[in-house]
Amino acid sequence: MPERSSPADVRAARERLLAAGAPLRRRPRRERVQVLGRVLERFRAPESPERQRLERELPEATGFSSATVREGLARALAPFSAAALEALVERELDALGKRRVAVGFEATAVLLGGAVPTPTLPALAGPLALGSPVLARSSSHDPVTARVFAAALAAEDAELGAALALVSFPSDDDLALGELLATPCVVAFGSDETMAAVGARLGPTQRFVRHGHRLSLAVLGEEARGGKDLADAAAALALDVALWDQQGCLSPVAVYVLGVERVPDELVEALAAGFAEAARRWPRGRVLSDATARFAVERDTAQLRAAAGADVRVVAGRGFVLVAEPDAAFRGSPLQRFVRVHPAPSAERLLEAVAPLGPHLAAVGVAGLGPLAGRLEPELAALGASRICPLGALQAPPLDWAHDQLGVLLPLARLADIEG
């Protein structure tokens, strides 16, 4: 891949891929899936060259600390197994039966985004599993992962390797983007503004699978409010926040403590201890100065509110900030390991407070909900969360996670019913 692809480079790559599509589609799906499964297994193996290369190159490329990259990869790649891929295919495609078929598009464009490396793997593997060649634009914040995936794929199977092309160009190169988007199926990761801009350039017959920016929350129930359970929950929350420096859509930005009118002091102290330990084990990485400025403004605002007499407690540690809020009203976070802790006297109050976040909600990590789980979890799903999981597991979604409520493979396929 050239450092910067010209519009002509992108067009040539697209045309090459369209030619590569026919033999790819002729191969049995089972074969394609087996190849992709072997590629995923390479990434899962801690000693593999692929994993070693990611661990070596990602810190410099993404700005995350080495320890964060190592831990983040270990946790996020563990569920990405060959067996999980086969199970995903069985669940989403085989289960359609003989009457309905799912076919990949002639080509799929994938606009990767952000520095979090792990979503890249399913994003590239999904269309290929369906027999659709992939033209992918690497993220400027992570030019490494897609490259390593492409090399591993080519090493496993030349034909599949030839069905993946990587291009790289700045986001304001309209001509190159236009060439990329001239594919029948487009998958994009990025901000809501990016989604709107890409969507506006697509025709009515093009498939557009959008993964805009989202956020996640944590909920601590009564059974996680004291003793060892609290310490465990604090460590789990700190891990979920520390990995990828809170940049991922699965990173919690706020914690709701159920059943209290005021966040207990001992809970704030336990969380602070968990965050401090996480900062020691997985130090925060490089922070761009505009993000540092937003972080400082939010921290100082919280300190001013505290000084002014509001019941706000601020723990400003090395590389993290915790703010215990007086109420359930959501206030957001500048990210970079900045978490607000809110009291939620009742489940109803919690749901009311987070309801406006619904369209942007990715996941909710929970701990100690006890019998309330059966009631609360469906309500959170109804609000918009596409994943509810134990705290500490947020950064390790299963391969078949219904990302953005969409599923994994079906949105990338054309479906046809054969009624004869």
Binding site: H213, C249, F295, V297
Partner: protein, 361 residues
């Protein structure tokens, strides 16, 4: 020195010699105002005390603790009882986002501060008292009474606006047809013209002109735009906006002025291009303000040429807080500064959504 005395001296400065930069006078007034606000603005006083910054310990305006802009959304940062407020300006907001508020118990100083800068940076070629048509791409104050931008345009339109001036955002929408009609009229009837409004309103207008109309506005036309594009479907670098304005309106980039201001401040900062034609574009501060560029986490000043977060000390903020910390980045340029966009080349680093973006959605 009480607040009345401080304001009297400031008004004299703004009236008699608004262009004179006087460091000793600034220092003296800044420390006096800090001492007053420390006493009269209880939340601010406690914030400063918690940092050990009391009037007896603060020896320079550089040491005055700055309040983050976000605090105006959280607390009533005023030095007078609420019932004495005569006007409240508010930041924009959404269902989730609180709106920042600047309460004023007098508009005299506020208006005295805005006028000299506006005139000096946008109307330097006009004789005292000379008027020109002003086409405003923003709502009139009656429609947006809590908009500080509309208020500023209202004050200046009254003082310097000639017949043919008008407001072109009505009921929340830019009236592009009426604006085009007014601009066409001005193109044939006047030699000097001011187009002013939000950058986003200009983009909207230019989009409607694209492929349809190319105006050739008089050589004495100037454009003033303000505000950014965050949260809009379309982000446009300033250079491209100015090139577009040149292409569609016939106003060259050297006659386009960006204003940097915010609801929380009484004073504004303008590009130098009209006042110093041919000089390097930079923002110059009114004499009663100072701009610091600091490391966000530590608050220490950055070295010459380095990027830092913008911190402003504005003596015209007598009734609230004089020192404001922003999340905007800037760099010192000679005797002025430039405001930078997001980190160079920065797309979002992750797929999570930061507070300000979330709250705008």
């Amino acid at each position: 020195m009480d607040r009345d005395a401080i304001e009297r001296e400031l008004l004299a400065w703004m009236r008699d010699e608004p262009g004179r930069r006087d460091d000793a006078r600034f220092e003296h007034l800044a420390l006096a105002l800090f001492a007053f606000q420390f006493r009269a603005n209880a939340p601010y006083g406690r914030f400063c005390a918690a940092r050990g910054a009391t009037p007896d310990r603060v020896g320079s305006w550089r040491e005055i603790p700055a309040v983050p802009t976000g605090a105006f959304k959280e607390l009533p940062l005023r030095c007078f009882p609420a019932e004495r407020s005569v006007h409240v300006f508010r930041t924009s907001g959404t269902a989730l986002a609180r709106r920042g508020e600047l309460a004023l118990d007098t508009l005299e100083l506020y208006e005295a501060s805005l006028a000299p800068s506006f005139e000096s940076f946008l109307l330097p070629d006009l004789a005292p008292g000379e008027r020109l048509p002003m086409l405003v791409l923003a709502p009139a104050p009656a429609e947006a009474p809590d908009s500080s931008l509309s208020h500023m345009f209202g004050v200046m339109l009254e003082r310097r606006g000639a017949p043919g001036s008008g407001w072109f955002v009505r009921e929340g929408r830019l009236d592009t047809d009426a604006l085009l009609e007014a601009a066409r009229g001005a193109a044939t009837s006047t030699s000097k013209l001011l187009l002013c409004g939000t950058a986003f309103a200009f983009v909207h207008w230019l989009e409607t002109l694209e492929g349809r109309e190319r105006l050739s506005l008089p050589a004495g036309t100037r454009v003033m735009e303000t505000g950014g594009f965050k949260g809009r479907a379309r982000e446009l670098p300033r250079e491209r906006l100015y090139a577009w304005i040149h292409d569609r309106l016939g106003v060259p980039p050297e006659r386009c002025v960006n204003q940097y201001g915010m609801t929380e401040l009484a004073s504004q900062f303008y590009d130098s291009v009209l006042r110093e034609p041919g000089g390097r574009r930079r923002k110059l501060a009114p004499a009663w303000t100072r701009v610091l560029l600091v490391e966000p986490e530590s608050g220490k000043e950055v070295r010459e040429g380095e990027v830092g977060a913008i911190r402003i000390v504005d003596l015209a903020n007598t009734g609230s807080v004089l020192a404001i910390a922003t999340a905007d980045l800037g760099r010192r340029v000679g005797d002025g500064f430039e405001v930078l966009g997001r980190e160079a080349g920065a797309e979002a680093r992750g797929c999570s959504i930061a507070a300000d973006e979330m709250l705008r959605a």
